[in-house]
Amino acid sequence: MASKFGLAGGIPERRVRPIWDAVDSRQFKAALKLCTALLAKHPTSPYVLALKALTLERMGKADEALSVCLNAKELLYSNNIFHFDDLTLSTLQIVFQRLERLDLATSCYEYACTKYSNNLELMMGLFNCYVREYSYVKQQQTAIRMYKTVGEERFLLWSVCSILLQAYFSSGGEKLLALAEALLKKHISSHSLHEPEALALYISILEQQAKYDAALEILSGDLGSLMGREEDKLRTQGRLLTQACNYVAASEIYQKVLESCPDDWESFLHYLGCLLERDVNLPKPATGEHTCSSCSVGSAMLNKTSLSEELVESRLASALSFVEKLQKSDSGDFVRGPHLAIIEIERQHRLNGKTNDRKFMEALVNYFHRFGHLSCSSSDVEIYLHMLSNDEITELLDTVSRSFDASSVSVKALGLTVTTFKVQELLGTFLSKSTADLQRTAKGMFETFYKNLPLSRDLDPQESMHGEELLSMASSILVQLFWRTRNLGYLLEAILVLEFGLTVRKHVWQYKITLVHLYTYLGALPLAHQWYASLEVKNILLESVSHHILPQMLMSPFLQQTASLVKDYLKFMDDHLKESADLTCLAYRHRTYSKVIEFVQFKDRLQRSMQYLAVKSDSVILSLKQNSESLEKVESVLENVNHGEGLVELSNEDNMKHLTFNEDLEARPWWTPTSSVNFLSEPVDEDSTPACFRAKVCKHKSTEKDGPKMRDTERKSLVPRLVYLSMHGCVSSLRETEPNGAVSDITVGEMRTLLEKYTRSIGYSMDDALSMILGMSSGKKSIKDFAPDIVSWMSFAVFINAMNLWSNESVIPRTDESSPTSWQIVDNLVKVCIEEHLTDANRILTCPGNNIPLLVQMVTEPISWHIIVIQSCIRAIAPQGKKKKKGGPSLRPNTPQLQGIQRSVQCLIDTLRSVQTWLSDQMSPEEHALDILLSHLQGTSDGPGQTFLVLGENPAAHASELGDLISKSLETWSSTGVVRRIVGAEHELLAEFKKMVDSKLKRLVSELASLSSVLH
């Protein structure tokens, strides 16, 4: 802040500094006192007022702060102020920004700039205001004014960036690009350019307009020297030449790049593409799209060349000799690029029709001989492996396996062993192996890991263990065995393997993430949550990694923990979206123009995040769930979100079209490639080939955007508003004495529109949906057929009942008196759905992937909404009845309705009691549950539980070989302990759920009592 002193609105620095110091050290009371004292001396100083506002805002007194700011603003606008400095304005700006009134800050600067038209500092302040408001046109105009005032290059570039932002975010890009080019061209002709970033921007503008030759000319001229690193310049030249179809020159340039950076794979592909005279579309995932790396890599360079076969062969031959030269010049053994390049060249031979398979195979074998011990060697060559036939794969694996002694204990042999397994995993070979083979393989992997553990004895505990991947792979095979046999023991074993690994090294995040999913699936959510918490996911990782836990938590009874996850995520996103523009200002100030554009685009990407949109609704729904038993609290939750109107608006068609998907799905286990898919819940498709399975996984990842998640998000965004409308509709309908229109802003029409949208998201029209719930509640339609969306169907019935209460015409067509009322439809549906799930759900202990999350959702969503409707109805009648003055209307209005409500309450009570009883039955004593689970691990010699036989009685017995650190950590290992924790966690989940059911029952019983008193 030191630079800010001196011209402080005419106030001596020594008087102002203590205030800033107090604010900086959070001594707000002291700061306020100082402000008041200073104001006594300078009552009309806008600067002192701004400081006071700043202090007030920090103290959380937003209203007072705003009023003081407005006071200061008024003074600034009056004509008696002489000290119109940036310090005052920037201080006010800070406060306005924190009060989310950017418009006021902007208008202050606008006024100041009109008054002092050539003040650069004020104009820069104004420019920043427009940056914060994302007003690109005004930014551009302001920057041009600054440029005209002082003629500095940076201001011209500020203006050019603002133009490019307009081009990016609106139509008419071509004209705008031409304008940006013209501005730069004119400046260059008179002043040249002096900043590397300015040059890069100029080149990119030319490139976007396909003016490659012009760009190349600039790059090879004097300005080219601005590029700091020669390689960067060469890469740009290569790119431009390729786009200009000057392949010969481009390939020569890329050769130069490769000579200095032989490992630069992207340049190699460009080089090869140029030799073969075709465009290389390198896999660049489109912003915000999920792509499957193994598919997208494979598609690169697949398009055929137009060159003749002979020419292709001769070009490939020259590429080969160049790459061989690169190989020879590498002294170390770490540059993999030229070696992989040989494989790529051989692949091109294959694509060109010359199926000289031996060479392709030879190249792969050579690669494994050289780099096979590295962790990444199998994924390096993944796309090439997929081109091999089954026989070739067998041959490759045999050759690699023969090349080392797998029984020896050495880092290199271990690395190669891991790679041979990984190749099989990547290719899906395990899918087609027999159960016995798989069991042997899993056991073999664990054995190899344990046998080689002494290799890690001297490693620092922070370092990763040698052969770490073996446990991940063994666990994955065990999950597959479970999938195939449905034998719970395998699933437990899969968990044990990873828990064992974490006992040796407690920081292996890959194990933890798999465990998160395994425990979720097993119904031991608290353990999943614990492991997730140990990953300490924060900041931007909240956007890319939360998908591992959030969806499960949202369906769980752990509302408080879920609320905290949701809160952290939203806080991160909201904070970033607020501060992002300040960082764009920083990029402008430091003349990093490329990042200016990037920052704005990135902010846009996050703002349009699918997860962000979904969690905004989740957060409100969660608060409603947490408070559903108190109408006052429900009302206050809804009031805070503008009665749900904003959320409905968020899911409008336009917004839904442009969502981004920022989750990093790579680390998810194979059996749950996205949060809405779990293969373990489906039967195994015995006939599926590895390739088919891979394609299925890719499809799930890439269609997420059109998938169920999207429709869920849309539907969720409607719920808070529907709950609000339901509550208020009831009130208006039951207060018969009040004139119609007491809640005139709420119309049946709005509710209908929302419900139409709601049913569309389940895939039905409103009319069809109505007949569906009629069918379901009367038992004519099977609940199972509607399984994935059953909770939404139940909620729909609840909302329909609420709407029916206050609609003049019955929403549900009733044929005669015996047709069910809307209350009865809800009652029946709730009863049928819950009952069906209770009979269906086996003991949760032994039945993973059970129905608990669905049951929890039924209770926390539709049933909660229905209880809210019931409470609203009762409140509409009861208190009013008591307060009625003499001679007023009947104390018991609308008796049939009340009886309907009473029956509904009774039905909910009965249904929830059956849930309560079921839950109590599930919670068997711990020791008993433990015995049941352990029995799954002590099967026959060909069942689960084999893996751990390797350890014998005491895993830490070979202390001398394992070293102190490892043997000490292994002393704590107990597989029974792990299983015991699982039992405990499942119990915790049930107990939490039961608590929730208990409290709902209590509420309902009390409502029943008050209803009885009104009715009798």
């Binding site: 950076c261 490992d263 993430i513 900041n539 931007i540 890319s544 990093t592 990037e598 685009q601 680390a667």
Partner: protein
């Protein structure tokens, strides 16, 4: 095979395999973005053929006169891509930029005194412990300030170790 390029915002959404490592701190957004905005040449990522983030280095250049130097703020590699000298390649890049583009005198970095694997790696790369900073990490663990002289520092003055440890408030830069 590795492509090394400037780190960009989108990489923040794909660097989880690197940052889930317990020793790699995930900073707040303004931290990363400030580095990108101020020292874009000091923030690089290495990507594999599938454009997956293998690792990254972030740093800055600061100081005055003979203490004008490059600084390594973070360098980290995902487990799958370790043990192939990727960190070394990234460090060399930062050193080259400090040396050739910015004519800095030395490059420095801070490391937890307990992080022996990292200390050994830096030593292999030519860094020496210049001084110990007492309770540098969250007021608990000591940090080691390690340095490597660049070509500007002909007499290698910048790396003559200090005799005594210092406290964090004696540090010249944040």
């Amino acid at each position: 095979m590795t492509t090394i390029r400037r780190f960009c915002c989108d990489d923040l959404l794909r660097f989880a395999p690197v940052n889930l490592d317990h020793l790699t701190e995930t900073f707040n957004m303004s931290f990363y973005m400030t580095y990108m905005a101020r020292w874009p040449d000091y923030f690089h990522t290495a990507v594999n053929p599938g454009d997956r983030v293998m690792g990254y280095i972030m740093g800055k250049v600061e100081g005055q006169g003979e203490s004008w130097h490059g600084h390594v703020t973070a360098v980290s590699v995902a487990p799958e891509f370790r043990r192939q000298k990727l960190a070394k390649t990234l460090m060399h890049l930062l050193e080259e930029i400090s040396d050739k583009m910015d004519k800095a005198y030395f490059v420095d970095l801070f490391v937890r005194a307990s992080n022996m694997p990292a200390i050994r790696m830096y030593e292999k790369l030519g860094y020496v412990v210049y001084r110990r900073v007492l309770r540098y990490y969250s007021g608990e663990e000591d940090g080691l300030d390690m340095r490597k002289a660049l070509s500007q520092d002909v007499d290698k003055k910048s790396i003559i170790p200090l005799k005594r440890p210092i406290t964090p408030d004696e540090l010249e830069y944040d």
